[in-house]
């Protein structure tokens, strides 16, 4: 699913944020990307997602060479990857249903598909009853679940979740993690960036450990 070779990334050419990173992740894997704050987890995600450019190296995501993408064909990568943001990035003027449906509307799905898939995604994350609520009427955990529903609604092969439990308490974090496990069992590749020791203890799986931009364990 992902192959990264000798990846370098720096901001303004000073100390590199990512230094000679190489790893690969198979289809259907569940992986934690760990490391302290500032280790480069979010930057690595952004680079994998084509959100930021990198200086050197090669990245292949689902067969797409990320380094070759430009602003016009970047959408091809974005449609293969579902991104769960730490700050949820929900549109405050849209309801839960509209927020999830939005992800399909922008890829040109027809009305019927939008309705069916949104309904299924909300069912998957257990938010059907809240479909008409606005983000401000939801708890942090519920907002994160909407964000997850939006990430899976277009049926991407890969889910990148950046600190998805960062703002949530322990109980809710457990629920969110269980949700990711359920999605993983449906065949999706999941990578979760986290520095929460509690989350890491809860699941036995592969860890990628970053420290000051270097990959210490893959």
């Amino acid at each position: 699913m992902i192959k990264v070779f000798n990846l370098y990334k720096s901001y303004g050419g000073i100390a590199p944020v990512l230094f000679d990173i190489s790893f690969d992740i198979q289809d259907g894997e569940f992986v934690f990307l760990t490391g302290q704050s500032g280790a480069g987890k979010t930057t690595l995600f952004k680079v994998l997602f084509g959100w930021e450019k990198f200086d050197r190296g090669q990245i292949l995501v689902g067969g797409i060479n990320v380094g070759k993408l430009n602003e016009k064909n970047l959408y091809q990568l974005r449609r293969k990857v579902g991104f769960v943001f730490q700050d949820y990035k929900l549109l405050v003027k849209k309801t839960v249903f509209e927020n999830v449906a939005f992800a399909q509307q922008i890829v040109g799905a027809n009305m019927k598909t939008v309705r069916t898939k949104t309904w299924n995604a909300l069912k998957n994350v257990g938010l059907v009853k809240k479909k008409d609520s606005y983000p401000s009427q939801l708890s942090g955990g519920e907002q994160q679940r909407v964000s997850i529903a939006r990430a899976i609604v277009n049926d991407p092969e890969l889910i990148l979740a950046d600190e998805p439990t960062g703002n949530l308490d322990s109980e809710i974090s457990k629920e969110i993690l269980a949700l990711f496990e359920k999605i993983n069992q449906q065949g999706k590749t999941i990578i979760i960036a986290t520095h929460s020791a509690e989350i890491l203890r809860k699941k036995e799986c592969r860890h990628l450990l970053l420290k000051r931009g270097k990959l210490l364990q893959s």
């Binding site: 016009k72 970047l74 959408y75 991104f83 990035k89 939005f102 922008i106 040109g108 027809n110």
Partner: protein, 302 residues
């Protein structure tokens, strides 16, 4: 209508609704600019019609020397007859000319009645056939004939025609330059309005790019919004120029009749109307593309 079209039209109206004041401000500015341009066009169209009507009445008068020989006179007449662009030839003898002149002006001046000799020469009045290059034909022929033996002078009001022609060229150039300046200004206005519209929806547009929207999907509603601004300004200006036209016709018809000699004061011609609307579309597309492209390329290079 497919889903893409439906979404972008819906998105356009939602943008306009959420930035109503900015949209109206931009339409109002475009309307004023187009109206100013429209007034100049109105002036130009009517002066052009006036000039064309004068052009139809222009005739070439060839004055002969008092001592012109019969053979030279025949030669001159042969030149007239051999030119197929000349429609009619009327000979006016010096006696007939003097009679006409005295008939017209003797009541106004005693000097004319007391004059004991005829100061006027024999002349030919030549009317040329109607053609787009009629004035040029008159000019060319007058150049040719004026140096012929027996011809004293030629006359077709060249000085004032030339002055009027120069004025029309100046007016055309002025409208062109003025139009380009207004055009650039209107593009900047629309571009800035769209920029504000983009920034008011920045979170949504950012999210669209992150979720895999194509550039066309993001740009289409912005372009349509720009086109609406440009076209709305253009259409309103055409209405206002029509009102100005009606006002002028209603209040100044008498004065216009004496200036235009029976020619109606016209509204803008169809090609000009279509051009104004097309310009509205073009500035809308250019203005909004400028901001949309700038925003999308900046996002990618972040």
């Amino acid at each position: 209508m497919n889903l893409f079209s439906f979404n972008f039209v819906k998105s356009t109206f939602s943008n306009i609704k959420s930035n109503k004041q900015l949209f109206l401000l931009s339409v109002a500015t475009n309307f004023i600019a187009f109206t100013v341009l429209g007034i100049f066009f109105l002036l130009f169209v009517n002066l052009d019609i006036l000039f064309s009507s004068w052009d139809k009445h222009i005739q070439l008068i060839v004055y002969l020397d008092d001592k012109v020989s019969n053979s030279n006179k025949k030669k001159i007449e042969l030149l007239f007859n051999s030119n197929n662009k000349i429609d009619s030839i009327v000979f006016i003898s010096r006696d007939k000319a003097w009679e006409n002149f005295r008939g017209k002006f003797s009541s106004k001046s005693k000097f004319i009645t007391s004059l004991k000799f005829n100061p006027l020469p024999d002349s030919y009045t030549l009317r040329f056939v109607s053609a787009p290059d009629r004035l040029k034909n008159i000019r060319d022929f007058s150049e040719k004939i004026k140096n012929e033996k027996g011809v004293e002078s030629v006359e077709y009001g060249e000085k004032w025609i030339s002055r009027f022609e120069h004025f029309m060229i100046f007016l055309r150039g002025f409208i062109l330059i003025f139009g380009v300046v207004l055009f650039s200004g209107m593009i900047l206005i629309i571009s800035n309005t769209i920029k504000l519209s983009i920034y008011s929806r920045k979170d949504e547009i950012d999210l669209m790019t992150l979720l895999g929207a194509t550039n066309a999907f993001i740009k289409a509603p912005l372009l349509l919004e720009g086109v609406f601004q440009g076209v709305a300004g253009a259409l309103l200006s055409l209405v206002s120029v029509k009102l100005i036209h009606l006002y002028v016709v209603f209040w100044f018809q008498g004065s216009l009749d004496s200036i235009f000699r029976g020619i109606d004061f016209q509204y803008l011609t169809n090609p000009i109307i279509y051009s104004v609307i097309s310009t509205g579309i073009i500035i809308g597309v250019l203005g909004s593309s400028l901001s949309a492209n700038q925003f999308l390329s900046r996002r990618y290079s972040e």
